[in-house]
Symmetry: C2
Subunit: 204 residues, 2 copies
DNA sequence: CCGCTAGATTGCCTTGAAGGCAACTTTGCC
DNA sequence: GGCAAAGTTGCCTTCAAGGCAATCTAGCGG
């Protein structure tokens, strides 16, 4: 995790390149559509070679997922700082919300075309995997620490982490499927509150 | 979904071919290891051309995931047949367990080499893509039907489906990480029972 | 029973992804 | 200023994805 605390110029430049590649990928997606650009285009826009793109990201989808994944990693870190007496699901919800707020999500109102591309993106299995990669394990660690369980031996922390990611995906999915009118933080708080109650079926 | 009810000989042959390809892929994985065979090998073993393999599966991992995905589809169908007064999480747990039982999972005790290959398989992003494909939506539909919610407008069914898949993944993950001594059905019942209680942290 | 046609299989081909290797360049430190 | 380590790049091979057109076959109507 040399991700945080960029010590020297070397580290900072790597971070810059990674971010530039990720941003370039996002831009290209909105400009041309998800299927109308290749990794080489992304590399060109970020001013590096295709081979260097490969050194940073395993796929186009990894580049597109970078921001979201980075937020989840920060959420895992934040989870460790939540008060110990706070209910677990509340702590998780707040830890997920804070990085969204920091990044200013949602960035104003996206255009219809942007929403359309985001939907397409979220619908691809490749993206869903890219979103889970390298993030679940961080969450597992943080949850294990908080709950005093063993991430290797116990099922519990991995279960909670997977459920958390599943819930987050559902919320993000809904955000792009329906009109993103509701504040995401509010929806997240409701969802994790329901989760703590066992997700009872509505009315019934 | 012409998957079920193979009417004519044509349909049945398609099903047979699909299953033969999937079985061939599994065999080759255990014989040679995940990285030591290509789609052409699978096609050859199943007695069809590579191009035909592509007509059935988008990737090697799709072929490997076929059985698991098929079970989840059957679980979605079973969920619709569970008694309406059964608690939702119980219904979901039982709907997940039944296809496992039908398929005789676990198939006796896997060898250490087999466990090793399964772990490698489950760790690959490509496999996770294949597992995510075409399964969540079936569950969303079934859950929406059962709970009287709208899969498009309501967050609820997608949330429950994603949480369900997350929990299932955690259990499968644990199954291959630790010694698969515990009966999976029992673990699943416990997990979904805990889920109905909001997954309280242990002791604490 | 026979031929007809939709659907299945196949080969060929183009594009793109993944990643090993070695040459070259830059950073950070002595 | 120079040196070692790390980053960047080009080149290459292998594999995946899937369009297209030719061929074959199951299952139907005559």
């Amino acid at each position: 995790m040399p991700e945080e605390a960029p010590s020297g110029l070397r580290e900072r430049k790597k971070l810059d390149t990674r971010k530039a590649l990720s941003d370039a990928a996002l831009e290209l997606m909105f400009e041309r559509g998800l299927d109308n650009f290749v990794r080489e285009d992304v590399a060109a826009r970020a001013g590096v070679s295709l081979r260097t793109f490969s050194n940073y990201f395993a796929s186009k989808y990894d580049a597109l997922a970078y921001r979201v994944n980075h937020r989840i990693r920060r959420s895992a870190a934040l989870l460790r700082t939540r008060p110990a007496d706070e209910p677990m699901w509340t702590a998780i919800a707040e830890a997920l919300i804070e990085p969204l707020r920091e990044d200013g999500v949602p960035f104003g109102r996206p255009t219809d075309e942007q929403i359309h591309e985001i939907r397409k993106l979220n619908a691809t299995p490749e993206m869903q995997v890219a979103l889970a990669r390298n993030t679940v394990d961080d969450l597992v660690e943080a949850i294990a620490e908080r709950t005093g369980t063993d991430p290797e031996a116990d099922l519990y922390p991995r279960l909670v982490a997977n459920v958390t990611i599943g819930a987050l995906n559902a919320v993000l999915n809904r955000y792009v499927r329906t009109d993103p009118a509701l504040a995401m933080s509010r929806v997240l708080r409701e969802v994790f509150d329901d989760l703590s109650k066992g997700l009872p079926p509505p009315r019934a």
